[in-house]
């Protein structure tokens, strides 16, 4: 069966510090991968998605970037965090069936 992992679960970072969130998927090959952010009490905002290794589509211009160095690994990064980057970050994957399967999420607080 397929499993999706995200870490860390929680993170408190100062403004201006770098960020690296990692997501890995097990039990499937060539998945579509997604990074979402959910601000408190708000909807899901798609940040990046990837249909293959090295293929990244950005949905929202900002100080975040994403990379997919391996088929089942998706990384979200920032060189300098802003206060507005605080939120709940979710990684998801989808296969041929179009439904999305989400990871447990990372709660990021930028102070």
């Amino acid at each position: 069966s397929q499993t999706i992992h995200q870490w860390p679960a929680t993170l408190v970072q100062p403004v201006g510090s770098p960020l690296s969130l990692e997501c890995t998927v097990e039990g499937t090959s060539n998945p579509n991968l997604y990074w979402y952010r959910q601000a408190a009490g708000r909807g899901l905002q798609l940040l990046f998605y990837s249909v293959g290794i090295g293929q990244i589509s950005s949905e929202v211009p900002q100080n975040l970037s994403a990379s997919r160095p391996q088929d089942r690994q998706f990384i979200l990064s920032s060189k300098k965090l802003l206060l507005s980057d605080s939120g709940f970050y979710l990684c998801a994957w989808s296969g041929q069936g179009h439904e999305q399967y989400f990871g447990p999420g990372t709660r990021l607080t930028v102070t």
């Binding site: 909807g43 589509s57 998801a92 999305q100 989400f102 999420g105």
Partner: protein, 113 residues
């Protein structure tokens, strides 16, 4: 611009009744609509997908309808239970694209014992 909207932020319902949640879309024709459940502090969980040529789909106590004339999907939970309390999200792909979906803002359902 293409929009997907869940107009009710919250819905309170008595245990045992049928909960009905609404999802509307404008300025496009999605090939399918999805419904997810999200509990606090957790990622959404996929529940059902209904395609544009399907009128209705069922899964246990859940029923989803897709009305292309009204540009609307309804999500029903029959015989609702307190454990059904959660936020429910609808989602759809944009016209001509299947690689991503856009989520509505969700409806928070509270089932009162």
């Amino acid at each position: 611009s293409q929009k997907i909207e869940q107009n009710s932020e919250a819905l309170n319902i008595q245990e045992g009744k049928t909960a009905t949640l609404t999802c509307n879309y404008t300025n496009y024709s999605p090939a399918y609509l999805q419904w997810y459940r999200q509990d606090p502090g957790r990622g959404p969980v996929f529940l059902l997908l209904i395609r544009e040529n399907e009128k209705e789909k069922r899964k246990e106590r859940l029923k989803v309808t897709f009305d292309t004339t009204l540009k609307q999907s309804l999500f029903h939970i029959t015989a609702s239970q307190p454990a059904d309390s959660a936020t429910y999200l609808c989602a759809s792909p944009p016209s001509g694209g299947y690689q991503k979906v856009t989520f509505g803002t969700g409806t928070k359902l509270q089932v009162i014992p």
